[in-house]
């Protein structure tokens, strides 16, 4: 029996699960069949993944901080 195609809305609703590899085989098939015929959703998926990559890249931006004197004092006070 032919399965109904999923809509763009359904795809986008479950895109996080798709990207995380958490869809079952049937759902993944639905996704991929839709992607094959929908340029808008292909663009959405690509930009969604790039958004994740851009966020992840910020983690390496955390600057190293010199420990401020007041902090050291508070730590020593805290230990007494």
């Amino acid at each position: 029996m032919e399965r109904a195609y999923i809509t763009c809305r359904e795809l986008i609703d479950f895109i996080a699960d798709y990207v995380a590899g958490e869809l079952d085989a049937a759902a993944r098939d639905d996704f991929e069949r839709h992607l094959a015929v929908c340029p808008s959703c292909r663009a959405y998926l690509d930009s969604y993944r790039k958004t994740m990559a851009l966020t992840r890249a910020l983690a390496s931006d955390e600057p190293a901080e010199d420990v401020p004197e007041e902090l050291v004092r508070r730590i020593l006070d805290g230990r007494r």
């Binding site: 958004t51 851009l54 890249a57």
Partner: protein
Amino acid sequence: MLDSEEDARDALQDAFVAAFRALGDFEATARLSTWLHRIVINASLMKLRRRRRKPEEEIELYLPRFVEDGHQVEPSVAWPEPADAMLEREELRSLVRATIERLPESYRVVLVLRDLEELSTEETAAMLGASPNAVKIRLHRARQALRGLLDPHLRAG
């Protein structure tokens, strides 16, 4: 995660004080840096919870919209630049950072913990006192909103 440098310094100080007080609880098997990092995150989160600022903007403003037949109101357009090239552009990283700051707090926190700090769904849920499902939903919406806000800057044409 925190808006002002002063907040960040306060959070860091709170964190280190808490860390040294808790040093006795530290399990030798855990990596010190990971443990310390977690305490800093927790301190930041505590600070965010204490401060009730302006009411949260509706995340719905930034989410994709759909018509009855399930298509997007505005079809998506490709972002032509490859990911590795994008990651090298400092001005783009600044833009992403600034855009994340615009997200409503409860969504921003989940995005930072999951996608930036790379905590698991379960760890994030435990830290926030939320269900794993709530974390998943908030993460997806946060990513969608961020994508939506970045889209005008990164789309083709």
